[in-house]
């Protein structure tokens, strides 16, 4: 596909949009109304999470129907932050997500480049083996993986989460697809100019990879921030948990005046950072998610 056709096909409907938008026909408004109702239902659960976090136990543990608390309060937040190491969980999550994202992007870029731009013994084999691991759910290998991590002596350390998840098949796949699109000519030109293989990569190929890195960072960060099962299995001390794992330990915790309020407060803390990233980098997010689907 050439870029020319892409721009023309997307431009035509857009200019048509502008002409028609001045007078949206009544049937369109009906559609908008239906979509608005649907959107309200779709967003409601997250709205309700925030509302419940701000509602006192007395009102939320009742059969009363309300959409906004009588007296919004931060009591749930103060209580859960003072009785649980929530700040530690946030710190652990930030550390693990940031380090894993950085590592996995480096690993994926290297692997993607090798698989796309070199012919070498074992290329097909490695590629097939990598892709096959997408099919294998983590639950199948979780006990053996734990045994491996335990043998290396990493249990309960952040590295137990970081190292195994730094290998990201989807990231490698996306990187390879992108690198296939980088013209061989520019790599060759660098070689002709006398640049070594690594210089060619770092000073010629890498600078063209901006959009790729953006997509990889967003996808990896979201996956690592939200990750649950593997961190739950390898992290054990209450101080060492990540936010989602910590959150899961709070349900049915009898220590709280309002367990649901405490749970919703931590849930809000879990979602807000990723939601903020989504709102700022919406385009890259959607692009990233789509590129996982275009196989």
């Amino acid at each position: 596909m050439s870029t020319d056709t892409v721009t023309t096909t997307t431009r035509t409907p857009r200019s048509a949009t502008r002409v028609r938008r001045r007078s949206t026909p009544p049937r369109r408004w009906l559609l908008v109304a239906v979509l608005a109702i649907l959107a309200a239902f779709v967003v409601f659960p997250l709205y309700w999470m925030v509302v419940s976090a701000l509602t006192s136990g007395g009102q939320s543990q009742s059969t009363e129907f309300y959409l906004w608390p009588k007296e919004p309060t931060f009591a749930n937040f103060t209580e859960v932050f003072s009785t649980q190491p929530v700040w530690r969980w946030i710190g652990n999550s930030v550390l693990i997500s940031v380090v894993t994202t950085a590592l996995s992007v480096v690993v994926s870029l290297g692997a993607g480049y090798a698989l796309a731009k070199y012919r070498f013994w074992g290329r097909g084999l490695f590629y097939a083996a990598f892709m096959l691991t997408i099919m294998i759910p983590i639950q199948v290998t979780i006990v053996p993986s734990f045994l491996v991590v335990a043998r290396i002596g990493l249990v309960d350390s952040p590295w137990a989460v970081i190292l195994p998840t730094a290998f990201d098949v989807v990231g490698i796949f996306i990187a390879r697809q992108f690198m296939l699109g980088v013209p061989d000519a520019i790599v060759e030109a660098a070689r002709v100019d006398g640049a070594g293989e690594y210089r060619a990569f770092f000073s010629v190929v890498l600078p063209t990879c901006g959009p790729l890195v953006g997509v990889l960072v967003i996808l990896a960060f979201m996956a690592r921030w939200n990750d649950f099962l593997w961190p739950m299995v390898v992290l054990q001390g209450a101080e060492n948990l990540t936010v989602p794992v910590g959150l899961s330990t709070l349900t049915n915790n009898p220590a709280f005046a309002s367990p649901w309020g405490a749970v919703m407060a931590v849930a809000t803390v879990t979602v807000l950072p990723i939601l903020a990233v989504f709102l700022v980098f919406q385009k890259q997010f959607v692009q990233g998610i789509s590129s996982t689907g275009i196989k």
Binding site: T9, T12, P13, A16, R21, T24, R28, V32, L35, A39, V42, V43, P45, M49, Q61, T63, E64, F65, V107, G110, A111, A114, A116, K117, Y118, R119, A129, F130, I134, M135, P137, Q139, V140, T141, I142, P144, S145, L147, V148, G181, E188, R191, E197, M222, N226, F228, L247, S248, T251, M264, A267, V271, L275, F278, L279, F285, V286, I289, S290, I294
Partner: protein, 300 residues
């Protein structure tokens, strides 16, 4: 997607022959340590009888034979099918409907796209706890609202017959935005000229959709189908937090059962065998689907 031109073999200096291994090295090392070794151990475990962390005993294919007479395995298999059939076509149909609606000029189109996409970014654990609160039988906002409307309270998660339905509803909620985004991308590549030509020939909107848009989306539908089935067969976090596989075993799907066998029952050999059966189902489905979509393409 067009096939990229074949990469020329870098000729010349010998050092170059090692370069690809350096670039691939970190990935290969992590893959061997944390993927391949565990997979090999899992396969070995599936032929053993093990108690938690104790020495296993080789029992041949006994674990696989036991599956045949395990009633819980059959329940889990049936639940998995119900869950996949309940979530996959529904999410894809709603996603396609939303994409079609949002592919035309509409006020607030960008905002709608963002809003429908938002559930995608929430962690499975968060979705689990928030939904179990909303669908709480006694204090949940869903039942409180139903009561205001004069309808009775529904045991969303506490009755075995309702729990699977609620679970499907929740998972569809998280999945619709994904399907919408992928379909939106595909719809933009349907040439407007063909659709216009058909409408000049007198084809109504429904006929245009069925005869032109839908066939042109077939490759996307095929990919989405595979991805959604993989997602559904691997769905764990939400189920684990929302229902824990219960009440009873009403929402215990295969992946839940694998986890349960390994961690609650301490039957790691049996869990490994169960897991491999699940992987076999996934592979089989992907292969069948790929063959079917190749056939479909040759017809077009």
């Amino acid at each position: 997607m067009s096939r990229p031109a074949e990469t020329p073999v870098p000729t010349g200096r010998r050092g170059r022959r090692l370069t690809p291994y350096v670039f691939l090295g970190p990935a290969a090392l992590l893959f061997l340590t944390f993927s391949l070794v565990p997979i090999v151990i899992a396969i070995a475990l599936s032929f053993q009888d093990t108690q938690t962390l104790g020495e296993g005993q080789w029992v041949g294919t006994q674990n696989f034979e036991e599956l045949g007479s395990d009633r819980l395995f059959r329940t889990a298999l049936l639940n998995t099918v119900v869950f996949a059939v309940g979530t996959v076509p529904t999410s894809m149909a709603i996603g396609l409907a939303l994409a079609t609606a949002l592919n035309r000029p509409l006020p607030g189109r960008g905002l709608f796209r963002a809003l429908f996409f938002v559930p995608m970014v929430a962690a499975g654990v968060v979705v689990g706890v928030v939904m179990s609160w909303i669908f709480n039988t006694d204090y949940g906002v869903a039942n409180n609202a139903l009561e205001i409307l004069g309808l009775g309270r529904i045991p969303w998660l506490t009755s075995p017959s309702m729990a699977m339905l609620t679970l499907i509803l929740v998972v569809v909620w998280t999945r619709v935005g994904f399907c919408m985004v992928i379909y939106l991308g595909a719809l933009q590549s349907v040439p407007a000229e063909i659709v216009e030509a058909a409408s000049i020939d007198g084809a109504g909107p429904w006929a245009r959709f069925r005869r032109i848009t839908l066939p042109m989306l077939a490759p996307t539908t095929s990919i989405l189908l595979i991805l959604n089935v993989v997602f559904s067969l691997q769905a764990f976090d939400i189920i684990y937090v929302l229902t824990g596989g219960g009440p009873g075993f009403s929402t215990t799907v295969l992946i839940q059962y694998v986890f349960r066998s390994a961690f609650q029952d301490g039957q790691m050999g049996y869990a490994a065998a169960l897991g491999l059966v699940l992987v076999a189902i996934l592979l089989l489905f992907t292969l069948l689907r790929q063959r079917a979509s190749k056939k479909a393409e040759s017809f077009l």
